[in-house]
Symmetry: C2
Subunit: 220 residues, 2 copies
């Protein structure tokens, strides 16, 4: 019974994700979905990434997903870009962004943007189950979270096209084994692309910007 | 419609959590539910905590919750205690432990234990919605996750009796503001107890053991 209900919810979501993709095509926009545990560095990354994309002439918008609060949107506000805040509060707070709320987010953003970045709810489990309509899923895993996480949360890494190993500036202190993190990611997903970066010193962020621009050009 | 279904699932869970509490009372056992994001240090904490409780004469069992793998149970195996592994794999992996699987875990553990520690699925959102039947909920938040997390994931902190600020050995490197973390926890839950600890150097773990023993004695 419960399985059937869940299947219906996911099928409904897939159909709405199709509508999201149609709208993006019509508006000549690309969209990327950033996911991770709470505190892996999504917002800090966006703070560094968006100015680089802006300098290269891309008009960026953000769909900011949180259960509650506008903390992350407020951190991005100084960038002067349009932000659609989605709060999923619902019996204590929904744990992911579904395609239904992404449709609402798109409607709230200007149609002349080039690229939309989704900052999903901080959760390494549930957001992976819901297609947002994005061109690619990007998962962050910080070096402080432990090398075994790709093995323990496989769906997230299976559904992601790119994995970002974040907070590399803390790798030594955290005694993180980055080659082992990579090898665990590839055990789960043999074709996942992997990059290392640090939001703190900005290392690796220009390479991520290039990756997004390349994907964008291939799409629109 | 979806709200109604969810309400039914939660009501069913509450009723099963009542059955868990009855069984614990009959067996004179206490049970504590450890929750956090992936990689906040739950397993490392248990590795340090269980020997301390053992030295004080407590027979400990663990219910180990993971979507998939037995990584964490394998880390605890050298302690020589009984461990009930629960894998929630189900359309890619259920995101929390419900009271139904806790009943199964209890059945798999010896009845002569004194205290059962649940290591829930790594997720700062969904496990808070499901009463496991534990005597207390304990949330870990590591200093690397950011001071704003209690505000952004309020249900978890509202439902927890004790909050552990973990990885304090990394506080300086992470530039963490521990008083701000505490004040944010108390903004959400004015009566939450807060302790600081480090699984790496063991600081604060004996105090946690005392807290659990005091709760245990008040219960059984």
């Amino acid at each position: 019974m419960e399985i059937k209900i869940v299947r219906n919810v996911l099928e409904e979501n897939d159909s709405l994700a199709g509508q999201v993709r149609e709208q993006l095509r019509a508006r000549k926009q690309s969209m990327f979905n950033f996911m991770s545990s709470p505190g892996s560095g999504k917002t800090t990354l966006l703070q560094h990434l968006i100015p680089i994309l802006g300098e290269k002439g891309f008009r960026i918008g953000v769909i900011e997903g949180d259960i509650t609060t506008t903390c992350d949107a407020e951190r991005l506000q100084p960038l002067g870009i349009p932000i659609a805040q989605i709060n999923t509060e619902f019996f204590g707070g929904d744990c992911h962004l579904g395609a239904n709320v992404i449709l609402g987010g798109l409607a709230a953003l200007p149609s002349e943007l080039d690229m939309i970045l989704i900052e999903n709810v901080g959760n390494l489990v549930c957001p992976a189950e819901f297609d947002t309509g994005a061109a690619a899923n990007i998962v962050l895993l910080s070096v402080t979270e432990g090398e075994d996480k790709p093995l323990k949360y496989p769906l997230m890494f299976r559904k992601s096209h790119l994995a970002l190993i974040s907070k590399t500036d803390m790798a030594a202190v955290a005694e993180a084994d980055i080659p082992l993190i990579k090898s665990n990611m590839r055990k789960i997903n043999g074709v996942i692309e992997v990059m290392e970066l640090s939001g703190k010193n900005g290392l690796g962020v220009p390479e991520l910007a290039d990756w997004l621009i390349q994907k964008h050009k291939a799409l629109v």
